[in-house]
Assembly symmetry: C2
Homo-oligomer: 224 residues x 2
């Protein structure tokens, strides 16, 4: 990709773009590169600063991993989303490790971490943009943690869906989120969000009429 192409992408994606100097814009473009990540490729393993990643197409998955290789999806990034957690050198405050994989074939623009950090030192608007991108993901992460840690909502929902499919003899459950919530003694918003999480993991498909189980094995594993 040429610098002109980066410039046009960043102009569209970065709200601070018009507010910074020509020199800083050129500097960012000169320190950018485009990468095509094939599906399944690990992009960031938490150990060093992989830069600021802007997803142009495809999908990236952020997750935490235990020593034993167990992983928990924190969230996914789609077209137009920015990954700040891979740029620990930009935000000093971030001292934890996350992993990033390409979940689909993905085309990304990557701004080198030190270059982004240098320009953001000079421009409060960039610093605010980067910090807000990080803080907004904080909320997503907290939600996942809270559900899994406290309520075992993933397990409870999996048990409900599994039992219901055994009871009806079908992988297609014609139940609204509100109905599921009432059966489970939970809130509709919680059930909707957890179903979306399951859908993201490819375990179920959610439609207007109900829920379809796509991966029975993984669902059953969650009930254990």
């Amino acid at each position: 990709m040429t610098e002109i192409v980066f410039e046009s992408i960043y102009r569209e994606r970065f709200p601070f773009w018009e507010k910074i100097s020509d020199e800083d814009r050129e500097y960012i473009c000169r320190n950018s590169y485009s990468v095509a990540y094939p599906r399944g490729r690990n992009i960031h393993d938490g150990s060093d600063c992989s830069g600021v990643i802007l997803v142009c197409s495809g999908c990236l998955r952020l997750y935490m991993m235990s020593d034993e290789g167990k992983d928990i999806t924190l969230y996914r990034l789609h077209e137009g989303d920015l990954c700040m957690l891979s740029a620990s050198c930009v935000l000093d405050a971030i001292t934890f490790e996350v992993f990033v994989d390409a979940e689909q074939d993905s085309q990304c623009c990557v701004v080198s971490g030190p270059a982004f950090a240098a320009v953001s030192q000079r421009n409060p608007d960039i610093r605010i943009f980067a910090l807000e991108a990080a803080v907004s993901r904080f909320s997503d992460v907290m939600w996942v943690m809270q559900q899994i840690l406290f309520m075992s909502m993933d397990k409870r929902l999996a048990i409900f869906l599994f039992d219901e499919s055994v009871r009806t003899g079908s992988d297609i459950l014609t139940l609204t989120h509100g109905q599921i919530a009432r059966y489970m003694g939970s809130a509709r918003e919680v059930v909707s969000r957890m179903l979306k999480y399951f859908a993201g993991e490819g375990i179920v498909e959610v439609s207007r009429g109900g829920v379809t189980i796509l991966d029975r094995k993984r669902l059953q594993k969650l009930t254990l």
Copy 2:
């Protein structure tokens, strides 16, 4: 407290203080109040915006709570620390709920959320300060989550300490953090940090020579 007292406290605690206008400084002081929270008092229950809390003395505890009343300490705030997570109206990106209690008798300065938000809209330096305060806590929270969720490090360490005290017939364990880590097959930094977490909870006391168990009942509860 008078506005002059707030002014002198904020001058010392807020790195942005010199960079904002006289009017904004006055506005913040006028919209501040001082509160003495007795030990054990709940200060924030996640439901509305309690403002930006600056701890002048004492100690606040931030935690998450489940429907069943189980709680997990995320971190503590001491003298000079700022609580941004109680001010969800300042940082729109924060949509999760935390609870804040006074763990000791605590004297705090509270800036009203809307006033702080209004001034930070006009001053990028304040916005950056507030966001950085939030992001730096993100790392603390992730660490706690990771240890508890993945490694069950709290449980593993509790089991080790409990078994060791039974074996030696003493509540005083003369072992270094490094030794404990080696016995447990973990890293010294992880053990040190988890011991500090236990110490914060009043379960153990950590000294140069080793670890003293203070609350045997709670330690045993963690081993289950």
